[in-house]
Amino acid sequence: MPSTSTPFTHLQVASSHSLQYGTATAQALVTRAAEFGQPIIGVTDRDGLYGAVQWAHACRDAGVAPVIGVDLAVEPSSPTHAVSRRTPARGGAWIEESRPRVVFLASGARGWASLCRLVTAAHSHTRGDPYLTWQSVQQHHEGVVALLTPDSEPGRLLAADRPWRADAAVRPWRALFGRWLAMAVSCHHRPAGHRHSLAAAARTVRWARENHLPVVLTNGVRYLDRTDAPVADILDASRLLVPLRSSRLEHANGEAFLKSSAEMAQVAEEIARAAGERDRHRLVTDTIHLAEFCALQPERDLGLGEVFVPELDVLVDHPVTDPVREATALLWQRCRSALPQRYDSGELRAAEERLAAEMRTIEHLGFAGYFLTVAEVVDMIRAEGVRVAARGSGAGSLVNHLLGISGVDPMRHGLLMERFLSPLRRMLPDIDIDVESARRTEMYDRIFERFGHERVACVAMMETYRVRHAVRDVGKALGMPAAEVDALAKSFPHVRARYARSALADLPELRSSTFGRLAAEGTLDRFLTLVESLDGLPRHVALHPCGVILSDLTLLDRTPTETSAAGYAMSQFDKHDVEHMGFLKLDVLGVRMQSAMAYALDEIERTEGVRVELDTTSLDDPDTFALIRTTHTLGCFQIESPGQRELIGKFAPEYFSDLIIDISLFRPGPVKSDMVTPFLRARQGWSSPEYPHPDLRSIVEETYGVVVFHEQVMQIVATMTGCSLAEADESRRAMGSPEGQDEVRVWFYRAAHAQGYELAVIERVWEILRAFASFGFCKAHAAAFALPTYQSAWLKAHHPAAFFSGVLTHDPGMYPKRLILDDARHFGVVILGLDINASRAGYHAERMPDGEWGLRMAFQEVKGISDTEVEALVAGQPFSSLEDVMHRAGVSGPTAENLVLAGAFDALYGFQQGTHRRHHLTRRDLLIHIAEHDRSRRSQISPAQLSLDMSSTITDVVPSGLGEMNAGESVRAELEILGLDVSHHMMEFYEDMLADLSLVRARDLLGCRSQQEIFVAGVKVATQTPPIRSGKRVIFVTLDDATGPMDATFFEDVQDPYAGTVFDSWLLMVRGVVRRTGPRGVSLRATGCWELGEVRRIWKDGGREAVIDLVDSSPVPGGGEPRSRPILLHASGFRQSPYADVKPADQAPSKLWHRSPGTPGW
């Protein structure tokens, strides 16, 4: 007979992957179970297996055997006739969770497969309302134990003391599951009548005994500790969309925590006593027996670590007998036949050797099918006429190049296969494919069609609570006024929920807000505690932005799927789980720059009749590099950020390989180990490159002795130790962790010594490698990035109008369109206004009569215009009048007004700004006409009468005597409707003041002395708060003053008085100290800033003197000790502010400027 110290096993545990239900992570639950000495633990998340893989791993790490199950709603046997509900007039309907629930536990591989199928079946109805029909239970019950919990139909009936109805309800389950069925009881000491009451548990036990059904004990666990109950309540409130005080919530009473074995033994005894059981331990022993029966071996049962790719039959049109051999032969054949096209006779031999070497690895791993599958996808995308490029380490493989997957020649750029695919690790490598963002989902559809829905699924992504969501959900649950919750949520930057309190205390713009004050007073304590308790909990499942799984026919036996919002079948596993599960995951990433370039190429063809083959253009065009060296690279891929423009200014790239280096240098790693400075010094000839040993010279020569690439690390290690590149890559990976570093160090010293290197050399090399640690960059990845960088710069250099059309239409960059528009002006492209007869959906290039290039504004920019309206406008061109537009294109009144205000009819009616000639029409006459038209349309009874009436009574526009809009009004209308200042630059309206105050213009910045204090002004076009080395937050602001962009940096001491102004205004005057950073590099260290509108008001009233007074009376930064605040310590010792890697809070009108975390490192 077991004693009370018998370890218990929990079989019904909801982890945090039970969305908005469970509060504890798999890790925490398993660790606790292990501490309790419980040998087995089961996870039974609600509605899915989202956490199954993590559970299996957590159990493996803790030495506990996993049971995996799922808690699903099941259609009740006798459908309760739901009264047809009317749609509530306001506020929405209740979230119903009335269906009974059953827990299904997998036993063995068969059970796991059934579990996956059950979950998929449950999600096959309406999205967001998963439940099982009895039919799907019948279809997928093999290998599955059904646990009829207190929430199951029989469980509920017994709680309600209806045993005779429970008899009937259990009958079908019994018939189907036979001995694979058990009742489960739980006691949370709820009042009698509750399904978690002692009485219900006892009654269920008695009933089960009478009916000879096994019965087990669970605790319906949903939190780790008793004290977590309030978090469960918040989750209930958010899930059911009711406030905490609602009577619809069953408030947690703190019992559903992971109890110890002794605590569970006590519960078991109480139930047994109440049930009149003689054997007080039978409940516990039966539970353990069931747990042992269901305990899984993940490798065997889940197939963890195996590899699955689509069957070769799918790729070839004949039956396959020996897939591995045939795939290998096919791969050989495809690669060999491509060799002569890519390499001339001089290179052919080396290429053949390299191909043979790569093929040996591929054959060894049996991955030929993988490469063929990826090649098939890329071919398919290309056949659709969609631009495609590989990114990532895959560019290091010659096979990928020969298959057309990667456009970069690995031989020419010294890229290594081993960085991508190593014979030492049997894991499918990662190939990422960039496609045009505008056609990404179309490509998904093709992939699903080509490989079949039974082999393809998208990858899920767990969205976890960050501060804004947490604030919203807690605020709603506490019944705070919606407007207040909204204001509070929006005031936070996108930080983790756990930093809510410290953000309110630390960030100057929050500290000075009312919320900051309330928090300081302690008024928000309860609220903030709850907000912080939600930190990191999964909130909802979303489609991963790019991951696609390609598998064989067993896919649905190995992953549960559900439907994404966009209608794609989506695995419930995230990208890490998918890798562990051995699926072929292809990242098909939508890249807007690819769309922009595709659009530009079409524009070139349309306007010049030439089809440019961008992918085969030579990579050493001097004009392109000349453009790059001017740093006028707005709109170009990867090199348009302020930091990158500064780096380019110093670097002055001349060759494609320089671009690869440039992209690799602009990373946290090189910045941290200060590679940039020695690199630039050596490159500019100020110092000579240093090589620790002549053997390493050839490896690091191209980077002037500085280690920049992963590939260089691998080659250095291989050279110094004599190991293979694959082994060298293993040690490179190992160096990512401190323990790994220690191990590698011992080995490296010994091996390098054995190779005959002197200790001093070994020590120096080791220092370099250690500093490099896990930072630096994969050269293959950088090379893959550099290709679109070069291509976009090439387009900008040679076809600026087409380039800007593409960039503006697909909005690829980090800057607001108005800055790109201004850049186009600087490139001599004339900006052409919206024109009802000349504009199209997107921007387009126009050759003007004088041979100049123009850029025509797009209909898509008009506020509120629908796709149908755009289509009708384009299809209906040319139009003869406003009435013609309204009649034939059927645009709505507001859209017609916006078109008029944005100037779309100026050409048609010959309007000229600022003129007012009697009896001449103005935009305002058109507005009146539209108003009249709208009113007559509203007063009509039927559409038939409308058309009759329109043609008969309203003819066309007549003059009304209203004057034309002036320049200011036009620009305001453009900003409001198009989000762009088209006809005039915003700053033109401040020219007089800028001149009077002698503010420095962007074009004159280069002429300023270093350390000079100057004032500048402009439209804020971007703010960035990237992570930087010191752990402090830095705000980078880009201003545009019509003569070009300029960058100012606000360090922490300036943020206290000025951060609010920086974030809240969009026209700024900035005081700063000039910082020269290179031949073309110049930026400002800001020491103050003011809202430009306010400055102008003061200037209007009091002139120059008054502005000087304003500046003098504003705070001067510095002084005062910096406050202590939390600092995240990166594994490498890289300190960063917790508020850094995040988007700052946004405020309308956001379309006019851009905020981003920015590229790390600068």
Binding site: R86, A89, R245, G479, A483, I928, H929, G961, L962, E969
Partner: protein, 429 residues
């Protein structure tokens, strides 16, 4: 103040003293509720004070000018007011006090002329044409009234004196607080034309935006636009209405006999609720109250309307016209509850409910009920009897069963048995 666009400019304003042909006075108490409260709280004079229900519920009913300087304005949610003016003193409203003060003020007005048209508790139009011989020119009368209001009620008001109602109202707004502004006949246009179009009666946010797009920013812009153009842009009626106003023409006369149009009560809950049973008890109480007031005023209602305001301050109003006019609480409740049930609300968080009897007819004009409906007489008789008891023993003496505390278990959702009965005063009350 709806015409917030019209601000008092810096320095002295004036359009002269000639009040010939300016018989219309618009008198507006300054920060009425707050000013009345300050009479009891002299220590708070000169400090920001907000009148509004305690807690974070309800809206600002009134605020002193010191509080307004911090951005507080009436109808602003209290939670927001507390946030932007944390230092302000908050006083719970005492409606009986205000209505008493209002009666005193209105009595002063009526002692000047019977031609008094009250717009609300703290605002009225006066036509002093008939008092000129007795009391002197309008300006003098205005000064007299201002002095008497201060002397007798201890609070200040602002008076606009003008040829027409809408100009008088603009003038009083312009000279607030504690001011007097005469707009002489020949200065009306000089006063009006520089004002923003939003100042005009009938120009809401949407019309203002529309006018701005047409380049019409000031009243003067409107005046100098051809009438036909305005009519084309805004419709015939609105166009000519604004055109007339822009030339200072307003044909409305002061109408002292505004009949009682409706009787209603509403209740803001202490906490937003989705509890149907709780709301049902409150609707029943409101219906009971409204019916009693109907009977007291000897009216019957043809139409019952129900108002529901939600936590986001959005509001739904539904009404139903009855077959027979009623003053019976049960009828009012039945109709209001049917209207509520038809909304099918589930998750919506309700902030306020209101019941209103509209389309009133004097009880004596109401058609007699048929004999077949005799039992209904019984119900009415019972309620009349209850009225009597209440008159003698107070309102809580007899309560419908549904309203007895404890009849519905309130403890689950933490609601007190009775909501905060703050509101209840609305135009027409």
């Amino acid at each position: 103040m709806s015409r917030s666009q019209v601000r008092r400019p810096q320095g002295r304003i004036g359009f002269g003293d000639d009040d010939t042909g300016c018989p219309i006075l618009h008198i507006d108490m300054d920060a009425f509720y707050a000013s009345v409260e300050l009479l009891d709280h002299p220590e708070l004079v000169g400090t920001p004070v907000i009148v509004g229900a305690g807690g974070n519920r309800g809206v600002v009913l009134s605020a002193t000018y010191e509080a307004r300087a911090l951005g507080v304005h009436s109808a602003m949610p209290m939670s927001r007011a507390r946030r932007i003016a944390p230092q302000a003193t908050i006083l719970p409203p005492r409606h009986s006090l205000y209505s008493e003060a209002s009666q005193g003020v209105m009595a002063i007005f009526r002692s000047v002329t019977p031609q008094v048209e009250p717009l609300s508790l703290d605002e009225a139009f006066l036509d002093v044409s008939g008092a000129l011989r007795r009391l002197g020119p309008p300006r003098h009368i205005a000064e007299l009234i201002r002095a008497r209001v201060v002397d007798e009620q201890g609070i200040t008001c602002s008076v606009g004196v003008a040829p027409t109602k809408f100009v008088a109202k603009l003038a009083s707004t312009r000279c607030k607080p504690d001011g007097l502004l005469v707009i002489p006949v020949d200065q009306v246009l000089a006063f009006l034309h520089p004002l923003p179009v939003g100042a005009l009666w009938g120009v809401g946010e949407k019309t203002e935006e529309h006018l701005t797009r047409l380049g019409l920013r000031t009243v003067g812009d409107i005046a100098h636009t051809p009438l036909v153009t305005l009519q084309r842009a805004l419709g015939e009626a609105t166009g000519s209405h604004l055109y007339e106003l822009s030339w200072g023409r307003d044909s409305r006369s002061v109408n002292p006999h505004e009949p009682e149009k409706s009787i209603g009560n509403e209740e803001t809950f202490a906490e937003d609720t989705d509890d149907e049973e709780f709301v049902r008890t409150r609707i029943a109480a409101l219906a009971d109250h409204v019916a009693a007031r109907l009977r007291r005023a000897e009216f019957r209602a043809r139409t019952i309307s129900l108002k529901v305001r939600f936590s986001d301050f959005s509001t739904i109003t539904r009404s139903r016209t009855l077959h027979d006019p009623t003053d019976v609480g049960k009828d009012v409740y039945d109709t209001a509850w049917t209207l509520f049930a038809a909304l099918g609300l589930e998750r919506a968080q309700i902030r306020l409910v209101g019941v209103r009897a509209e389309n009133l007819i004097p009880a004596e004009d109401a058609p007699e009920q048929l004999l077949l409906d005799a039992p209904e007489h019984g119900r009415r008789d019972a309620e009349v009897a209850i009225d009597g008891l209440r008159d003698r023993f107070g309102d809580e003496a007899v309560v419908p069963g549904r309203l007895v505390p404890g009849a519905v278990n309130r403890t689950e959702s933490g609601q007190p048995p009775h909501g905060d009965r703050s509101a209840g005063v609305a135009p027409g009350d």
